[in-house]
């Protein structure tokens, strides 16, 4: 055993300076509505995000029905179609995935996994949820506003976003921008909480290198989000100015349907730089928490330490840092200075290396493990499959010249759905099956979980893998209908129908999940405090579900890293982090 040298003071986490007064709610309103308890806030975030997710999922069914059977649903005209794709995209990326991973999982797991009683700024935490909720209301208001929501695509490129020809010009785009700005302000409050709690709120003995990878993933993602969202904020403010006050930040001299507009001199590509400066880190903000969580899922359910923990930490940090210098790979064919292509293709392909290392370490954790094929483990395996698939197709798009024919085709749509839609959502499901017993004290139903898993995994793969080939063929994205060209065989239209029908099937299967969540609340098998026999602190709470303050009278003390599974010489195949070392262990020998 190595002694921590005395000259490394920052290796010692701060013992609490003064016992921070926990806020104790006095009324129903302050206990359940305006709660300052991170666990309640987490559930508020998660419930809101999952509901929006189901709504956005339904929007996608409408889109797919239009693509497979053009004109079948007469109320979906071109305007409506573009509004659907925009709202589906923006909701899923920002209001579902970001909010769920950071606001939902972050709020629940960070304090518990670090042995803290709550987040360090509970009042700001409470505000952050209600600002998120307000942002959601503003976003949904655009459905009711004259002209409806914006149909500019989730990327909202000017000049089209604020000129006629794109729906939502009157109110939709304004409400979208306002909603995003409110979201970002709210998210900043939340993000400060997540980051500072990791920096200052860890219990005694919890060094950074003893934190589970879930926390590393969410922590790094939060830091990135704090630095990247301002770019979207600035872009949104400027676009609002252009739309409402007649400025020309992004608007060059243009003629709109025969009329010369009074704009001039602005640069549409400036918006693209600002948007993607946010947008690329955003996809890693969604991916990194998933990486962290899946590492822990595999570890627990294969009863083996995550292979190469140090490399995993360095890889998370490297990916976080590198993600800020790859943004223009979304702009290879934007007409920007072509020499930028060399730089961004290089950085983009370099970022593949730490990502690949993580994939190797996940599968190496399975190697010589003791694999229990529980529902969380199944979702973790499915994540690896779909993430590898989606990540590898990213190498096509990242290689600048290969992106030339493939950009703006269904290849891109297939790629980002696989890597950002399917893979992280599989992790979300796995994580919910994994942590539900901690939140509720009961297990989700296993057979129903298996059913949900297989249809979701195989169905989603069947939807998005063939879609790449449509893109290779040259089918562009964001087309209201595929239409006829010389190059489309009839079978391409048949493939569209197959994809739609599979999507509807997968969508229907999600109701099994929702049913399971509700049914198991009262009928699920009682789980006890640590049904998966995991080492991390959240499973060692004195009560399940954990009460306000999490730990009762005293916070735990941490003596070991988060992955003491199947340690030779121990009778159990796991050692909780707050298990003090035995004398034999301290002397460097395995216990008898």
């Amino acid at each position: 055993m190595v002694e921590i040298p005395l000259d490394a003071p920052s290796a010692v986490p701060p013992a609490e300076v003064a016992d921070v007064e926990l806020y104790h709610p006095r009324s129903w309103l302050t206990r359940y509505v305006f709660s300052q308890d991170a666990k309640v806030i987490a559930i508020q975030y998660s419930a809101t995000a999952l509901s929006i997710g189901l709504f956005a999922l339904a929007l996608s069914w409408l889109m797919r029905l239009q693509l497979a059977f053009p004109g079948l649903l007469s109320f979906i005209d071109a305007n409506a179609y573009y509004q659907l794709i925009t709202m589906h995209g923006m909701m899923m990326v920002v209001y579902v995935l970001t909010a769920l991973f950071l606001g939902g999982f972050g709020n629940y797991l960070i304090p518990l996994m670090l042995g803290a009683r709550d987040m360090v700024f509970p009042y700001a935490n409470m505000l952050s949820f209600w600002l998120y909720f307000l942002a959601v209301i503003v976003l949904f208001a655009s459905f009711l506003a004259p002209g409806g929501p914006t149909g500019a695509g989730w990327t909202l490129y000017p000049p089209q976003a604020i000129t006629s020809g794109t729906p939502g010009l009157e109110w939709g785009i304004v409400l979208m921008m306002a909603s995003l700005m409110i979201f970002i302000i709210g998210f900043t409050m939340g993000g400060l909480n997540y980051v500072v709690t990791v920096l200052q709120g860890r219990t005694r003995g919890m060094t950074l290198m003893r934190m589970p990878l879930t926390v590393w993933g969410i922590f790094t993602a939060s830091v990135m989000a704090l630095l990247a969202f301002p770019a979207l904020f600035v872009g949104a403010v400027m676009m609002l100015f252009d739309r409402l006050l007649g400025t020309s930040f992004f608007m060059p001299a243009i003629i709109e349907q025969g009329t010369r507009l009074s704009y001039g001199g602005g640069s549409p590509i400036l918006f693209q730089h600002l948007f993607w400066f946010f947008g690329h880190p955003e996809v890693y903000i969604v991916a990194l928490p998933a990486f962290g969580i899946v590492s822990d899922l595999i570890s627990v359910h294969a009863r083996r330490n995550i292979f190469g923990y140090r490399m995993m930490v360095w890889a998370i940090i490297a990916i976080g840092a590198l993600s800020f210098v790859v943004w223009a790979h979304h702009m290879y064919v934007s007409g920007m200075n072509p020499y930028f292509g060399f730089f961004f293709a290089t950085t983009t392909l370099i970022i593949a290396i730490p990502t690949a290392i993580k994939v190797y370490n996940w599968v190496l954790t399975l190697w010589r493990g003791d694999i229990h094929l529980t529902v969380p483990m199944l979702f973790a395996l499915a994540f690896i499959v779909t993430f590898v698939n989606g990540g590898l197709t990213g190498l096509f798009l990242g290689n600048v010249v290969v992106d030339v024919p493939l950009s703006d085709t269904m290849f891109v749509v297939a790629h980002f759905h696989m890597v950002m839609g399917v893979a992280p959502i599989l992790v979300i499901f796995g994580a919910i099956y994994h942590w539900y017993p901690k939140i509720t004290g009961r297990l989700l139903n296993g057979p129903l979980g298996q059913f949900h898993f297989w249809i979701t995994f195989l169905g989603a793969y069947a939807i998005f893998f063939p879609m790449h080939y449509l893109g290779l063929m040259g089918v562009p994205r964001r087309y209201y209908e595929m239409g006829e060209t010389v190059i489309y065989p009839q079978s391409a239209h048949d493939l569209n129908i197959f994809i739609t029908l599979t999507a509807l099937l997968v969508g229907a299967a999600q109701f099994a999940f929702v049913f399971n969540l509700i049914w198991s609340l009262s009928r699920g098998r009682e789980a006890g405090g640590n049904p998966w026999r995991a080492t991390t602190l959240e499973w060692q709470t004195p009560e399940t579900p954990p009460p306000h303050g999490n730990w009762g009278k005293e916070q735990p003390v941490v003596y070991r890293w988060a992955y003491d599974y199947s340690v030779p010489g121990w009778p159990e195949d796991f050692i909780p982090q707050n298990q003090p070392p035995l004398a034999a262990e301290m002397a460097g020998r395995a216990p008898a």
Binding site: G151, T166, E256, F307, Y309, I384, V401, Y480, G483
Partner: protein
């Protein structure tokens, strides 16, 4: 056990799908074969990695699934193994990046003997402008756009007097001659995409972008707009006809005759008044 089977089937099935899929790129009609070659290299490398990872996972699930008495091995890390894997990945990445950058360099370097044409995108149609006999395109500006000057040619630039303007009709190109395509838009962002040409580029209002190609196959090819530009985006179609030199020159002569006829028509209708410089 079924998990193992399904993992193997996914790996094998995906490869099989790739091989038998009727959905593949259209036969190329330009000199950008290099792009296709780079895509093939990428498919080999990524395909190998995908299959390897899935089969390894299947093997692990088979060999190391939980059975009574089975215990996992405790191995926190292996610097050597991780080092090797990192190195191999780096090599794989370089193997894809190097040809890609090489071809990209080729893509942005227009050959000296390329003729220049201009494509103008507007919501929601394509227009084309060819240099006339002088081989040069005239200056254009958005403020010059009027009903009878739809592409905004400058009246005072002599180079532009003989430019051939084709609106909403087919563009013809001669086979085997490199052509630099200048792209301009008068309203929103568009993208001129002919899948058979592989090359394409977004069109930004307020600036001019370009790409170049050499058509290598005769035929009629569909033009698809590839940047969401409003509700008419899927209908912003056009076509490009690549033909032998003889046919191309016949078409060009026809266009030039039409231009001269139009110009004399307008000058007959409106006798030229001295025009102040733009």
């Amino acid at each position: 056990m079924h998990v193992v089977l399904i993992l193997v089937l996914l790996a094998v099935g995906s490869v099989l799908f790739h091989i038998v899929s009727p959905w593949w790129w259209t036969p190329i009609a330009s000199n950008w074969q290099y792009i296709d070659d780079t895509i093939i290299i990428t498919f080999w490398i990524t395909g190998a990695v995908f299959v390897a990872v899935l089969l390894f996972m299947a093997y692990c699930v088979l060999r190391f699934r939980h059975r009574d008495g089975h215990k996992a091995a405790f191995e926190p890390e292996s610097r050597k193994l991780e080092g090797w894997l990192t190195l191999l990945t780096g090599i794989g990445v370089a193997a894809m990046l190097a040809p890609g950058l090489f071809v990209w360099n080729h893509f942005i370097t227009v050959p000296a003997d390329a003729t220049t044409i201009e494509i103008v995108g507007q919501q929601w149609q394509w227009s084309f402008r060819l240099p006339g006999k002088d081989g040069r395109l005239g200056i254009s500006a958005i403020d010059n756009i009027t009903d009878d000057n739809p592409l905004g040619l400058s009246r005072t630039d002599p180079n532009g007097q003989d430019d051939i303007i084709i609106q909403g009709d087919e563009l013809h190109l001669p086979i085997g001659k490199p052509v630099k395509v200048l792209l301009r838009s008068t309203d929103v962002v568009h993208d001129f995409y002919v899948p058979e040409f592989r090359a394409k580029m977004d069109i930004l209002p307020g600036s001019t972008s370009y790409f170049w190609l050499t058509p290598t196959r005769t035929g009629t090819f569909d033009v698809l707009c590839a940047e969401l530009c409003g509700t008419g985006h899927p209908y912003m179609r056009g076509s490009v006809v690549v033909e032998e030199a003889v046919d191309y020159h016949a078409w060009l002569d026809g266009q030039q005759t039409r231009v001269i006829a139009q110009q004399s028509e307008t000058s007959n209708e409106n006798p030229q008044e001295p025009v102040a410089p733009d």
